[in-house]
């Protein structure tokens, strides 16, 4: 497919889903009412609901989906591996650990923004640990192993916190938080996450030329003038900012970064640079759609976004494994 057509279609889809996200909710304000309330403003219940509840939710869906799709495409391109997932570098686990500590310590109950702030701190510590373990100029394999190690350590510490939690409500809250959700987020959450996701996203979007060159392998890419060490550092910091911030405000939203680049790869002619923009738009569409679906499927049950993406993503992942096995045979 021609690139402008593909990006245009995806952008249209994202816009439609963004509007749908504004229009769906328990308050029963329809499409026209929502848009009118948002545009006209005022102090009535409808504008308030739109501004304080639905708009932040839609904005976070857009930002987080785009960030996860982009991170997945960048990491898959860099590793030349279609099974790579942004969680691989350990940042989402360490962000989750930070959030869990915030809930366990009671900080999040005392001060609502403690949770995303602790989670961001966790992500930062995670990426520092990875860079310290692997070195800024590490080879790719060392980097991934460091990510796996940090991820395992963060998961173990999260389990330890759950294990030691004497308060069953805190434990329950931790478990629910880790399922990932965009419900009841405010514009403050948007303000916390947006700068990191945008800065990280811009860093990742500049990697296109290097990712294209890596189609030929690391040695050939280096001979084409690509500085691999600088690129690796930018990739890790970019993914850490995006995934750390996304996890900090929404919890774990799995499979988006893995599945979206796959869905769009052949439509972009498998060119890694093209896949970056397409995956950003595709990720936004998937998360917005999944978030709308949680509200439509079970309006009264608070179905978690991360549960839905995993329920749809896991079978798709199995399909990918089977397809990869068939191609290898």
């Amino acid at each position: 497919m021609r690139q402008p057509l593909l990006l245009g279609l995806l952008a249209g889809l994202v816009a439609a889903l963004f509007v749908a996200s504004l229009a769906v909710g328990p308050a029963g304000i329809g499409l026209r009412g929502s848009l009118a309330a948002l545009v006209a403003g005022g102090d009535g219940p409808a504008p308030l609901i739109l501004r304080e509840i639905r708009l932040p939710r839609a904005l976070l869906g857009l930002l987080i989906g785009a960030g996860l799709g982009l991170s997945g495409a960048a990491l898959q391109g860099f590793l030349r591996n279609p099974l790579a997932e942004p969680g691989l570098i350990g940042v989402s686990s360490s962000a989750a650990l930070g959030a869990v500590v915030a809930i366990y310590s009671g900080a999040s109950a005392a001060f609502a923004l403690a949770l995303p702030v602790f989670a961001l701190a966790g992500a930062l510590l995670g990426v520092l640990a990875i860079l310290a373990l692997a070195g800024a100029a590490a080879r790719t394999l060392t980097l991934i192993l460091a990510g796996v190690a940090v991820s395992a350590l963060a998961a173990a510490l999260t389990s330890l916190v759950l294990n030691l939690s004497s308060n069953p409500y805190a434990a329950g809250e931790i478990v629910f938080w880790m399922m990932g959700s965009l419900a009841d987020r405010s514009m403050l959450h948007v303000a916390i996450a947006a700068p990191f996701i945008l800065a990280g996203g811009i860093a990742l979007l500049t990697l296109g030329r290097g990712l294209d060159a890596l189609t030929l392998g690391e040695d050939a890419a280096a001979s084409l003038g690509i500085g691999l060490a600088a690129m690796r550092l930018r990739l890790v910091l970019g993914i850490a900012a995006v995934v750390g911030a996304a996890t900090a405000v929404a919890g774990a939203v799995g499979f988006v970064g893995l599945v979206v680049p796959h869905l769009l790869r052949s439509a972009t002619g498998a060119r890694p640079a093209r896949l970056l923009w397409a995956s950003a738009l595709g990720g936004a569409a998937v998360v917005l759609a999944a978030d709308v679906a949680t509200r439509v499927i079970a309006p009264e049950r608070d179905l978690k976004l991360g549960v839905l993406t995993a329920l749809v993503g896991a079978p798709f992942f199995l399909h990918l494994i089977r397809k990869t096995a068939r191609e290898a045979a």
């Binding site: 890596l214 030929l216 392998g217 280096a222 084409l224 690509i226 052949s266 002619g269 498998a270």
Partner: protein, 249 residues
């Protein structure tokens, strides 16, 4: 014109020199074959010369800034990696990254496709081609880079005899058009027949450098490769056919 100059180039792994004080010049118009047994340091020498490995001594190529180096020399690693199912045209266009963006509509891409006989395959997925076709597509990628020097690590390994000869003929044509070509290889027969000059690397040292007929002598083949070969000066070039292991001295 000298396209590559190495002066006492040394690459160490730990304390042990893998490439030990190699000095040589390569000029436009030469097709230079780098031969030597496994572990002699051929790949290390090529990568050190390209600036892909830290090396002591001097390499005119490694001394250039990365962007200028990419426009001066095209590098074909041995593994022939094609990570994604891109089209042959998009693959060849990756050579243009040395000049900026990989533009598949650049005239140099069309020229490289035509030169390698890939025009009918331009729209095919590169990962679905045969090994010989992939090798040709990757050489076309190097041509699209429009670098005067092409360095290839075992470009004929794993190819069928026709593809091996065709590849060497392509390199010969490139050399005649004024480019400098440096290829490492194991096939002494192909090296003797197609290269204008042979370098012999043995335990990291350059032990011979000259025309195939001068270099590929029984004493050298026994000392460096441990083989006895049938050597015959045919009308159209030297024929080298390894026949047995050399007797221990």
């Amino acid at each position: 014109m000298t396209l590559l100059a190495l002066d006492r180039l040394t690459v160490r792994r730990g304390d042990c020199p893998v490439v030990d004080g190699v000095t040589l010049d390569i000029a436009g118009g030469e097709l230079v074959g780098l031969i030597g047994p496994n572990g002699a340091g051929k790949t290390t020498l090529l990568r050190g010369a390209l600036g892909l490995l830290p090396a002591a001594g001097f390499s005119s190529l490694a001394a250039l800034p990365a962007a200028a180096r990419a426009r001066h020399a095209a590098w074909l690693p041995q593994n022939r990696e094609i990570a994604w199912p891109v089209t042959v045209r998009d693959l060849v266009a990756l050579g243009r990254i040395a000049h900026g963006a990989p533009d598949p509509d650049h005239p140099a891409v069309d020229r490289a496709l035509a030169e390698m006989g890939l025009v009918p395959l331009a729209g095919r997925r590169a990962t679905e081609l045969s090994g010989g076709e992939q090798a040709r597509a990757l050489i076309a990628r190097a041509l699209a880079q429009e670098a005067p020097l092409v360095i290839a690590d075992e470009p004929v390994a794993g190819l069928d005899p026709a593809a091996q000869i065709a590849t060497m003929q392509v390199f010969g044509g490139l050399a005649r058009s004024g480019r400098g070509i440096l290829v490492s290889m194991h096939d002494l027969g192909l090296a003797a027949r197609h290269c204008t000059r042979i370098l012999v690397l043995h335990r990291g040292r350059l032990v011979a450098d000259g025309a195939p007929a001068d270099v590929l002598a029984p004493a050298l083949l026994a000392a460096v490769f441990g083989i006895r070969a049938h050597l015959e000066q045919a009308a159209d070039g030297l024929v080298v056919q390894p026949v047995a292991l050399a007797e221990a001295p």
